[in-house]
Symmetry: C3
Subunit: 433 residues, 3 copies
């Protein structure tokens, strides 16, 4: 991968700094952590916070109660804290029920989650839709616990309130939408997904100064229930989504990875394939599968939207995934910057892609007369520029986009774009509606 230019290092540093501010917050699918996160993101862009009351029916689901936690710990018989929420918010099972009791280790064990194969890491575990309480800790600490009584305390509350999500729309010149979405429900996990939240906020901010054809809809919503809530309340907006990306785990040095939409051959699928193959990036393209992030909801058969998943390392494949090792050391400004650049490139392709119509479709128009073709004949091959003109004119039958033309000709997309623009400027091309 080429060394990032200075501007890109800058954007990487800005994304990293924002992710670092989000990292310590204890988020869940509802509650103060989400609101605090949205408030920080809102300092970048004019974010709209939507609050949907507990109990609201959203498709097959119901908006749950808000969960808020103040503290939690396990104390041994001597009063020493074995685990403490204050040390790491992964220590408490996400959405855990409250408890305050003393009990023997034998009883407590069933409520402790560890990673025997990664004995120094705390796992990330949740129980959103089943009433449980629990602690997560390193396996080594767990093994050191001696028989006896322990005081366990989780000062958490579930109460009617709201599900909160943030939305920001950059308006373009058409009523066609691009969706960019990152999940906001994970606590202190840097790559998954402080990285995605921070990247999209910075990208939205950067877009403000740019005239676009598409509207860019940014969603910062809790996984699953957030996407379902948005879909339930935005059927008309959903129908306008022509391209979409779920963005997560974009701060590490792996990948890049792209998982295709359910359609498999959507424009966004081909655009990402193009972006991930540029400049020696050895991106991996995977077919859709119905496990992952919110592409599960957008690609459900009743919506079947052209939404894919962009990541660096793919979820579930890196050892830090869903553990305390997914921390601020695991992500880096340079990786955030290159992820940012790839998404920007995809946006560039979407913005620059159009469907040309040759206005002189019978025979070649005389390019030489218009200064678009070498005056001297007899060369072995046309130059690259002339080839781009010839390809665009030949395939400009209203059935090929510029991306199609780039794919079929094997020419670089941006060379095709430039040629089409010059041909249009010379009155040789029109554009289909």
């Amino acid at each position: 991968m080429r060394p990032a230019a200075d501007a890109e290092v800058d954007v990487g540093i800005r994304i990293y700094a924002l992710a670092a501010r989000l990292y310590p917050i204890c988020r869940s699918i509802t509650g103060d952590g989400v609101r605090k996160t949205l408030q920080i993101l809102g300092q970048q862009i004019d974010l709209t916070q939507h609050a949907v009351p507990t109990g609201t029916q959203v498709l097959d689901w119901t908006v749950p109660q808000e969960w808020n936690i103040r503290s939690g710990f396990i104390k041994d018989a001597s009063g020493r804290k074995i685990v403490d929420f204050a040390d790491h918010n992964l220590h408490i099972l996400g959405y855990s029920a409250a408890i305050h009791r003393t009990m023997p280790l034998s009883e407590l064990k069933a409520h402790i989650h560890t990673l025997p194969d990664q004995p120094d890491l705390i796992p990330y575990r949740t129980s959103y839709y089943s009433e449980q309480w629990g602690f997560c800790m390193t396996h080594n600490r767990f093994l050191a616990m001696e028989d006896g009584d322990y005081e366990v305390m989780i000062d958490a509350q579930k109460a009617d309130g709201h599900l909160t999500y943030g939305e920001y729309v950059h308006r373009g010149s058409t009523d066609r939408d691009v969706l960019l979405s990152a999940h906001i429900c994970h606590p202190s996990l840097a790559n998954d997904n402080c990285s995605g939240l921070a990247l999209l906020a910075c990208l939205a901010k950067a877009l403000r100064g740019r005239k676009t054809r598409y509207n860019y809809r940014f969603l910062f919503a809790p996984g699953t229930i957030g996407a379902l809530t948005w879909l339930a309340h935005n059927e008309t907006n959903a129908a306008r989504i022509e391209h979409g990306l779920i963005v997560s785990c974009v701060g590490d040095g792996g990948g890049p990875n792209y998982k295709r939409s359910r359609r498999g051959d959507a424009t966004i699928d081909r655009v990402m394939e193009y972006v991930l193959s540029r400049e020696g990036r050895k991106g991996t393209i995977k077919d859709f599968s119905p496990y992952g992030y919110d592409e599960r909801q957008y690609c459900s058969p009743g919506f079947n939207l052209p939404v894919g998943l962009f990541q660096r390392s793919a979820f579930g494949t890196f050892p830090q995934y869903h553990t305390s090792a997914d921390n601020l050391d695991f992500i880096a400004p340079e990786h955030l910057a290159s992820s940012y650049r790839m998404i920007m490139e995809a946006i560039d392709v979407l913005e620059l892609n159009w469907t040309p119509v040759n206005l002189f479709p019978k025979g070649e128009p005389q390019l030489g007369r218009r200064g678009l073709y070498s005056a001297l004949g007899g060369d072995k091959s046309a130059g690259e520029t002339a080839m781009a003109y010839l390809w665009v004119l030949n395939l400009a039958d209203g059935a090929h986009t510029l991306l199609d033309i780039a794919e079929r000709s094997g020419m670089a997309f941006h060379d095709v774009v430039r040629a089409a623009q010059l041909l249009r400027d010379n009155g040789l091309l029109g554009e289909t509606l």
Copy 2:
């Protein structure tokens, strides 16, 4: 291939025993041998014998006369029998004209068929539609014949009578049919096709105790003319055939082989591809070609039925093919049992395959609430069971069968079936008509 379970050994022994009873009978495309064979098969299942008179026009063909043979031999000058029909019914050219004359070897030679490359085997030869007489013998015996006069006698008769075939229909709950057909016209050839006749009779018997969706139509008919006769008289029934298998040479240890229907992508083609790839079976799939057994007739362009050919060793490829070496030593209960199991598996897939419709197609339905999803979140991957639910729900758009879903997801068909059943039981899936 996994060791056959006891029940399968049993069925293999039963099929073998039945094939062994059929083996000695001298069959041809018409005559007593066919009727005797149908009578034996009729002890297993309530077979209907159809008798179509000589001279009946069937499509482009005419039902031929009945051929029956009592005896046949060649005697040398000393009165010693060189070949005798009583020793092996392959010794007489199938459907041979009668003869009783004494002639020199030089004249007799033109009527003797041997296999110079397999000098100890008797070939199987016929002449149904051209009036000829002839003998088949080992090449070594032929070479030992000395010049001189020979008495040749074939006491055979061609006379108006009937073409006979057997039919058995297992009734299912719909008016959709599956065809299972084996040719009944070969004399003492064990694999080709006592094996297929016996296997299908035992399979039909086994189906009696089973409720099915499809009707299963079993045909035991002489090759070519039998299939043509059935098709000529059953155009309406033919139109109901949704899947079909021709079954022959299913008693040896080779293959398995499946030849696709002319359509090439019929459901039966995909089902057999699935069955032949299971459990380490290294089945071979071949494209349709218009030479072989009665798939030639069912796949003629005017019918173009989805009927393929299932075999162990493919016809024409094994040295015993159409020789006296295709005897009861060449087939074995274990191979008959595994062939039986593969066809039963294909039937299982056909019976269990349906087209689900997700009744909650917008977003995922909440599986956890219904006890179909792990309560605890955060795992690296969904379990196999959860993945099966997610795949079925995602592709249950009315355009994918469970077999489609298995193929696209890479999951085992039966896991997909089980998941779909549970989802239907939970009110999440409907079925297309």
Copy 3:
């Protein structure tokens, strides 16, 4: 490649001799050279000369003035001719403006074209649509030029006149056309394209004695502007073109090469793929690209005709291309003969290809009764002849041509043709309109 038969050697010699007569003529896109060439070709076939006046609008282009040249040279201070048009007509830039002046080398240099990497060859350069004058010479001669004044003289004239092209139509029994076209605008370049002109003239002559289904339209026209002129004046004729080949560079020993039409799967594309794969020819098939010869015009999106390009060595890939080394030593009778044969084979396939309809589509018709099938049954496989019958009958559903059947069955096209003919003679096949 098999040794050419005598008749083919003969045709190769005749084509070579004709090419040799065309070689010395100085052709351009207009002028006397084109007319003289057409007059020589017209000695083979009854060619129609079309003359389109200067200034005529043809599609986006305008017919240019006629260019005629009498002489041209560069003389050094001592009066010695450095280059002389009389020595080689490549010495003058094609369509060069006239000039007669004395000037220093420093000024002259900008008008001299050489090939530094091939210092002994004269390049071929033109300037049709931009007013320039110039000389082409070997790089070594150029390097030897000393500073000083030179007299430069080009006695050429541009004046209103006509663009000329030749056309010959061999009439067939239908109103369906095949286009065969060669460019006539290159001066002394033997392979590019005296070879194509001579080959097509000889082929047209050979066709005169033959009854064909298709009309064969032969075009001998200047590149680009000639094709555009024909298309502009022949829209109805263009619409009748069902197959077409551009023929150029067919005299060297390379290739063969075929570039597909823009459609990519036109019948001519499949026919040429068949021809180029026969008898161990290791032909190369390339996808369409919009640079090359007049396929650029025929395959422009407003026409999109099924016209491909046939060559031996592909243009631009051989070192002699567009240099003085593309002379009569570079082409040979044997290569012209084998190119001729390949095009004739393509014509044979087009003429012999038809769409059979099985008149007995239900089941197989009884071939034995008609003497088309072996009387004796029991063989391991049907013979090749029987297989051809079976394949044709099976696929004769009105949706497959004989070429389709050859491709699907893997049988040789001519075996399929022969089988279909015999089946038709026996009343088993009809032909779709």
